[in-house]
Symmetry: C2
């Protein structure tokens, strides 16, 4: 964030690497969409209205499809392409995007504002991207992989929520991992109820879905009695800092909590 003139500028940059963040054989239009969505999702979590993006693009062929997906995504979020750089190189493709936004509410929501007694909320279901990636890998009907290929940044929701939340972030690396980060930044413990978390995957995969990123739901906390302007599932309660930053049904969750790139 950067005060600029009489406004507050919110900045984000995400880089994606073929074979790490997307499948090398994926449709470049979907890669472009996801690159835009991940960045806009970061703005959404800060309640920022996009004002434009800068693209870093490594040429590997497939430019037309990439540009087509880029145009679609930028139009969807109202973010003009302001500039960028195109480079050559023979390695696995690297693409990056810087997104700029204008804060619509101050203070800008951060990860550090959750307080004991606050409710914990999620804007929607988890696991859709996980199931979608599997469908894509299996060569299934493209409609079944849409959640993975074309994730939706919750921009409208983030802007609407910004004045009402005590802390907010987007879930990009897995709910349990991102919730732990929010708890640590706020100096509290987040107590989640597994059954309350909406799923877009079969019930027997709940544990995985809570550790999967790429759904880009917004995780936020709000004071008791806060009126929320958009639908959201109440998934837990903020507790005073305990030994563990995160409790799932009363105990610290096992194993890996999410995905670190």
């Amino acid at each position: 964030m950067l005060p600029f003139g009489d406004e507050l500028l919110v900045l984000t940059h995400d880089t994606m690497v073929a074979g790490v963040h997307f499948l090398p054989e994926q449709d470049p239009a979907d890669v472009a969409w996801k690159l835009v969505a991940t960045n806009i999702s970061d703005l959404a979590a800060k309640g920022a209205q996009p004002v434009g993006v800068l693209l870093s693009y490594q040429l590997t062929g497939g430019e037309e499809r990439f540009l087509s997906g880029l145009r679609e995504a930028l139009a969807a979020y109202g973010a003009p392409l302001l500039g960028g750089d195109t480079v050559g190189g023979a390695g696995p493709q690297v693409v990056g995007l810087t997104a700029l936004g204008r804060a619509t509410h101050r203070p800008v929501p951060g990860r550090d504002g959750a307080r004991a007694g606050d409710g914990i909320y999620l804007t929607g279901a988890l696991g859709g991207a996980m199931v979608g990636l599997e469908a894509l890998r299996a060569g299934a009907d493209p409609a079944l992989s849409l959640a993975y290929r074309r994730p939706q940044a919750r921009l409208t929701e983030g802007i609407a929520l910004a004045p009402h939340v005590s802390a907010m972030m987007d879930v990009s690396d897995g709910l349990l991992l991102d919730a732990t980060r929010l708890a640590r930044a706020s100096g509290v413990t987040l107590s989640l109820s597994a059954a309350a978390i909406p799923l877009a995957a079969p019930e027997h995969r709940r544990a995985e879905a809570l550790r999967w990123g790429d759904d880009y739901q917004l995780l936020f906390t709000a004071a008791p009695g806060a009126t929320l302007p958009v639908p959201a599932a109440r998934i837990g309660t903020v507790l005073p800092a305990a030994e563990a930053p995160l409790l799932l049904d009363g105990t610290p969750p096992d194993g890996a909590l999410g995905y670190t790139h």
Copy 2:
């Protein structure tokens, strides 16, 4: 450029790829310096004061040296690191930087303002980076490769010149190529005098030096009688648009005009 609040934001992004924009075996501190300098040079050409940068960094080892060079360069230009992204991946390293600046003069100098009768100027000598790269490749005394390894963005000069120029750009791909771009954008012909162009290379390499980038001098035009606030060499005169956008000693230059990445 982006109007933001009551200010004008100037944005630039440059990406560099190992084996394309720098030698894979180069000191990462020098790579970081150059990445910063190329971006700050773009701001300088627009008379913009840096306000910060976002880094895209692909991990390949050598992080400590990279960060050391980055810190040095950001301190030299007064640009704080505001954020960015770190990614993995096994390919040739890709690093990128987005730089943000605040316009210090409006209108912001562009490439399209040169008018017939204007003088054409260069802030300094060309060929230093060319000779420096050769010294680096030859394993010579590091002092001899400094111009290549640690190029200087003409930030102070750009900001001082902005109110006085009709057009300005930084020479990053070779003087003859960049001058052609400026001529085309302005709808004029640039007539250069080869002998007037200051060299930081042996005289017999003049033709090459005029086609070599990476010196990051500022190329600008100014109305006759303009008072220039910094030293600059007068290297030619703007003519009404002729068939060729660029004349060198009266004739269109031969062969490749510069380097395209």
